[in-house]
Symmetry: C2
Subunit: 225 residues, 2 copies
DNA sequence: CGAATAGTGTCTGTTAGACATTATCGA
DNA sequence: TCGATAATGTCTAACAGACACTATTCG
């Protein structure tokens, strides 16, 4: 079948922007500023712009910048969703991306943004609910055997803080001794010399940061957590 | 930006059809029957047909049927590749799928098909080389901790045969005792009562098949192989 | 000093792999 | 009976998790 006779396909990207708030995974939703679903909360997304984007990842970066006002250090392609019914405008393809950011990076006073817990989401337009579900499932699985959750921490953090992040994402407690052995095994963290988290009525915790080489990479465990 | 002003995006699917031959992963390539790259070997692929496809997976199934003449019991979305340069016709998006089939399902006498070892591929048009590489990497990783390789076996097989398949995919020997423990743990195989592989000068091996409930699912290991 | 949490040492049960042993076929 | 491979038993080393102990801060 020659290409010219084919009806057009709507080509978009959607970003599942995840962050941690109150020890629970949250997704950043965006109030739609056009039809369809004008005014509804949905995933930040938009058309691919063939004139300017070198690929769908560029489009995702642009959407994050324009709609959520941030640059995510971690951005991963999730999956592609398609079909005649998911968008009322017609047959569409949406390449979904998953971004993880420390909560400090999410703009606080942006009226068009809402940060919602992933376990108690409102109804979402399109098939955005299942996109979020798939992203969360992927993040949980990947956190079992990788350094993914460090992207939810800021630049400096203590091991007990990082352990709490793992526990929040995995939804279950993690053995302290094993956890520290694993983090050591990953070889991805470095203590910040002389820097400790003081000010609390207990032994201060050592501050760590991600080694430069691992800033934008994942580190994998042979066996899971 | 209103949709009408955006230049069109070419929307296609490509299928990485993998099988095992001579204890090595092979990919089934298809001789292109149109421009661009007319006559070149490439991944079987084609346009999404919005009138008939309910999603890109339908398009992948159709492509497999039309170009490779088979129905794959295992078909998984791999990733989506996009950009202005990958297809000379213009800015394109290709949703890539990965299929695994027993070698018996690949038509033997189809002149438009070639079965090539994944480790010694010729140059391929588009970005098909990197799509194949990504599919192979994914299959290898997933075989570490799942029942994926059973889809490369036929309906009936012995445990030593299945172990050989795992070893071929993983590229390294597997401990026999552990392997059998793992397969037992997966709870996915059932012995075919009274059926053994006879005819060789040694103790015959028990024949197994995949339990009905697991025919189209993957079974996952807590820890890897 | 006491409360609280960070960080570490150690023990034990579980698991993976090496090796040995037994089983069962054809020749 | 012999050679070959299937299938299983068993021992050991590695690992994960439980628990306890020490360290260090604030009040």
């Amino acid at each position: 079948m020659p290409a010219e006779t084919l009806p057009p396909v709507i080509c978009t990207v959607d970003v599942v922007l995840l962050t941690l708030r109150d020890d629970a995974l949250h997704v950043v939703l965006h109030k739609r500023d056009r039809e369809p679903f004008l005014g509804a909360l949905a995933l930040p997304g938009g058309y691919v712009h063939p004139q300017e984007d070198q690929g769908t990842e560029d489009a995702a970066v642009r959407v994050l910048r324009d709609k959520a006002g941030l640059e995510s250090p971690y951005l991963e392609q999730l999956a592609t969703f398609s079909g005649p019914g998911r968008d009322p405008r017609g047959w569409s393809v949406s390449v979904a991306y998953c971004a993880l950011v420390p909560s400090g990076l999410v703009p606080v006073d942006a009226p068009q943004l809402r940060v919602m817990p992933v376990d108690r989401l409102p109804a979402l337009p399109f098939d955005h609910k299942s996109i979020v579900d798939q992203a969360v499932a992927r993040v949980r699985v990947k956190s079992q055997y990788s350094s993914l959750p460090v992207h939810l921490c800021g630049e400096r953090f203590t091991l007990p803080q990082l352990q709490a992040v793992y526990e929040a994402v995995l939804g279950e407690p993690v053995n302290k001794v094993s956890f520290r052995r694993k983090m050591d095994e990953l070889g991805m963290l470095e203590p910040i010399a002389g820097e400790q988290e003081l000010g609390r009525a207990n032994r201060p915790a050592q501050l760590y940061r991600v080694r430069r080489e691992f800033r934008r990479t994942l580190s994998l465990l042979d066996r899971g957590m």
